[in-house]
Symmetry: C2
Amino acid sequence: MVWTIDFRDKRPIYEQIVSGIEDEIINGLISPDEPLPSVRSLATDLSINPNTIQKAYRQLEADGYTYSVPGRGSFVKNTEGVREMKKKEVLRDLTDLIRRARELGVTEDEIKEAIKGDNGK
Amino acid sequence: MVWTIDFRDKRPIYEQIVSGIEDEIINGLISPDEPLPSVRSLATDLSINPNTIQKAYRQLEADGYTYSVPGRGSFVKNTEGVREMKKKEVLRDLTDLIRRARELGVTEDEIKEAIKGDNGK
DNA sequence: TATCTGTATTATTCGTCATAGTACAGTTGA
DNA sequence: TCAACTGTACTATGACGAATAATACAGATA
């Protein structure tokens, strides 16, 4: 487990779990058809209620990241397209944010600086 | 009133009001020392409870956008610096989002496209 | 002085989040 | 076969925030 629960975070726990596992899937830390930790074991590891984990897993399945087999476990789906979806989502957010930046009078140079200043490459 | 309440929005009503009025102030639709609509009249216009408006106005004052005078009304503050604050905030969000985009494998070209594709200038 | 203004307070309703406990059916390995 | 795992479902409870409702008070104003 790379991530942890942040109790000061205003987002609900189950949501933190969802996005944490989403990231693991997208970054290939869990491969397709590999099992997620079981509801009960993850609940024990994170010291939270199993029902909360179940809610997160239900969400992950609804979002198309995983599939569940009663009696066996929850598994990572074939994530062809998922990464593409996420990329499109981020690019949409990016254009929105840049529009907002322009409305505030942020200059082109400042925008370029934000892009360059990030990776230093 | 330029904006309206979106009841399907997951954000609470009072927060929508805060950011709606913030935008009006930043975009100069209400000038410094101009009065905001009164708590009761805005509540009537938006068909929501006066207490909700009061909460939003309290927030706006706490955030430094307005000042209130009991018996007279709520007024827009001199917003020197507010726009600067917002710009810095947006630029921070921008670097975060671009980092996330890179992590997803978004190319430099796609990022530049998002910037250009926006204003077409 | 009537009517506007902001402000404060208490009570109630509602929905979400999280926990707790229990139960059931499918799977698996010893 | 069977104990121990798996996902899943259900009800109940407590905590919390959001929103509404109903008053009340003091300052400002025409």
